[in-house]
């Protein structure tokens, strides 16, 4: 049983500038599916998708459906919002694995 199991729709982040809002849900056996809208799509869209995928991969998640609305967030913000959305979806509200979280935030 993997540590992080996507269970229910969850959301993290806001629509403020320099933030990203990430909604996550189950995507049974369909892999990672990211629907991204970004104000910096042409310059950073590719990198934002990579950052989200990398973070999900770090968390051992192979299947998830994400809708992300980005307003020019830096990578650290994107990672933090992804981690938060996953935790909420998994219903984890205590005993966070701080050591692992720290290692993902590079």
């Amino acid at each position: 049983m993997p540590l992080y199991q996507i269970q229910k729709p969850a959301i993290a982040g806001t629509l403020e500038s320099s933030d990203i809002q990430i909604m996550i849900d189950k995507n049974d056996g369909e892999g990672i599916d990211i629907n991204l809208t970004s104000s910096v799509e042409h310059q950073y869209g590719r990198q934002i998708r990579e950052t989200i995928c990398k973070t999900l991969s770090n968390m051992g998640i192979d299947n998830a459906k994400l809708t992300a609305v980005d307003k020019g967030a830096l990578d650290c913000t994107i990672i933090a919002r992804t981690i938060a959305a996953v935790h909420r979806s998994c219903g984890i509200t205590e005993h966070y694995d701080w050591e692992a979280i720290d290692s993902w935030n590079v």
């Binding site: 500038s17 320099s18 104000s39 910096v40 799509e41 042409h42 310059q43 950073y44 869209g45 590719r46 990198q47 307003k71 020019g72 967030a73 830096l74 990578d75």
Partner: protein, 514 residues
């Protein structure tokens, strides 16, 4: 596509390079020419210039297919004149017009329809905002738009490269014989600096006003001797869109830090002495610099010789406090400053040619000590982009950027390291408006870089204890935070030609690939 590389390394398609010549350096051209003059039909005693409608003015002006028409942008986002005139022209079925507006604002979005329907087929302007700029960047027009600086436009008009057949000039007050100004009436905009050039060189000049006064209307910004027709309409503009009531100071700590850094640079430079002249824009940081600089001037007992611009009410305050002796005003940014031009003898209205034309016998920018400018992007060669966004889409304006940078002894760029995730300091700007050789110092919130051409300034700043970075270092700081941006993909079609102020091509903008 065969191209010619210019002095800032930009590839200019050969057909345009042959037509305009390519940029070879900011002072490379010093050509003799004969000024082009407009046609004149005398007005005899007893004849009237007052016509009953816009339609009648257009008919009497003799406007025909293929001609060039002009407008000024002193009414900014509050302008009704351009849309009103274009709608009437479109109704009359006139086609293939060349639009030579001093600039184009968001409010001029109806232009997109006039382009689609073939009423307008060519455009020259300083700027193109949001929707019009975006439509053009996506290939709306067959012929590329020609972007000119304020000084470059005046030069092109005076040399005859732009020949205006009919100028439609809004004025907040006018008399029936055509004497017009922008400082009285309802829709006041202050200086009519851009319009003055059009009035002098156009074949036909139509003054459009909503405030007709008795003859003679003074002060005379545009003279009766240049005007053919006067039309009265209900409203020429929305005062709230023309100018803000008062320009407020920023409370953004990042902008204040940039301003503080810029103030350090100016006070440490050899130009900070009695009689200093400067121009500052209307942006948050540059307004704040003026305030910091004023404090330093009071402390040091220094008085400015003149202020140039782009005038805001805080510059008027310097004048009225006695910290500045004169203001030379080609464009007035707020109502406080517009009121001053009517009230203060030493707040003097100048034309765009007087302000910045590199082709006349001496522009005001040549006398300038310090200019503070903004930037969408600056690259490691100090080249500046104020035209296209980081997504490659046209949204800005050339303005007086390259004019003042070339003229001033010290030109500073004030910009944040990043805007959101978008680096301002980049490896290579999307579009070059001002060449790096005209930029002396780049000031950000994290550090200051001096152009290596200016060893004297580097020394002066080091001696004053200012910590300096290279542009490469600033760029690396930006990229470390934001990541290296992916390059924008462009197609082959050229959608805009960027003229340097001397008429040579410094860059082109290509259609974005989406």
């Amino acid at each position: 596509m065969e191209t010619v590389k210019n002095a800032v390394g930009r590839e200019i398609p050969k057909e345009y390079a042959d037509q305009y010549g390519v940029f070879e350096g900011q002072y490379a051209r010093k050509n003799e020419y004969r000024r082009a003059a407009g046609k004149v039909v005398p007005t005899l005693p007893g004849e009237t210039k007052l016509v009953s409608s816009l339609r009648e003015a257009i008919e009497k002006s003799g406007l025909k297919d293929g001609m060039t028409i002009s407008f000024h942008h002193h009414f900014r986002e509050g302008d009704y004149v351009l849309n009103m005139v274009m709608e009437e022209i479109a109704k009359m079925g006139i086609k293939n017009l060349k639009l030579a507006a001093s600039s184009i604002a968001n409010v001029h979005e109806p232009l997109i329809e006039h382009i689609k329907s073939g009423v307008i087929t060519e455009i020259t302007s300083s700027g193109l905002r949001d929707k019009v700029g975006s439509a053009i960047s996506h290939g709306l027009m067959e012929k590329p738009v020609v972007i000119r600086s304020h000084g470059g436009r005046a030069r092109a008009i005076e040399s005859g490269e732009i020949h205006i057949d009919v100028a439609f000039l809004g004025a907040s007050s006018a008399d029936p014989y055509g004497n017009a100004n922008g400082s009285q009436g309802n829709a006041t905009c202050g200086s009519l600096g851009y319009a003055k050039v059009d009035a002098e060189y156009a074949d036909k000049v139509v003054i459009i006003t909503d405030h007709l006064v008795d003859y003679p209307n003074t002060p005379i910004s545009i003279s009766q001797t240049l005007v053919d027709y006067v039309v009265v309409v209900d409203a020429i503009g929305n005062p709230d869109g023309i100018a803000k009531g008062a320009t407020r100071f920023t409370s953004d700590p990042k902008e204040l830090l940039i301003a503080e850094n810029a103030c350090k640079v100016i006070t440490a430079s050899p130009y900070f002495k009695d009689g200093i002249s400067f121009q500052s824009g209307s942006g948050g940081s540059t307004l704040a610099v003026t305030r910091f600089l004023a404090e330093k001037m009071r402390e040091s007992g220094i008085t400015a010789g003149y202020l140039l611009g782009g005038i805001t009410s805080n510059m008027v305050e310097l004048l009225e406090e006695g910290l500045a002796k004169k203001i030379l005003d080609t464009q007035t940014f707020d109502r406080g400053a517009a009121a001053s031009i009517a009230r203060n003898e030493n707040h003097y209205e100048i034309s765009a040619s007087f302000y910045a034309n590199p082709g006349n016998k001496g522009a005001a920018v040549n006398q300038l000590d310090v200019v503070m400018l903004s930037a969408l992007e600056v690259d490691t060669d100090f080249n500046v982009n104020v035209m296209t966004g980081s997504d490659g889409v046209i949204r800005g304006a050339s303005g007086g950027h390259s004019d003042t940078a070339a003229g001033a002894k010290l030109s500073l760029i004030l910009c944040p390291l990043l805007r959101g995730r978008i680096p301002t300091i980049v490896e290579q700007v999307n579009t070059v408006i001002t060449p790096g050789e005209g930029i002396d110092v780049v000031v950000t919130e994290v550090g200051i870089a001096v152009n290596p051409r200016r060893k004297d300034l580097q020394e002066a700043l080091k001696n004053a204890g200012v910590n300096l970075f290279t542009m490469e270092e600033l760029k690396n700081k930006a990229y470390a935070l934001a990541g290296t941006p992916d390059p924008i993909e462009y197609g082959d079609k050229v959608v805009a030609l960027i003229e340097y102020r001397d008429g040579s091509l410094i860059d082109v903008v290509r259609q974005v690939k989406r």
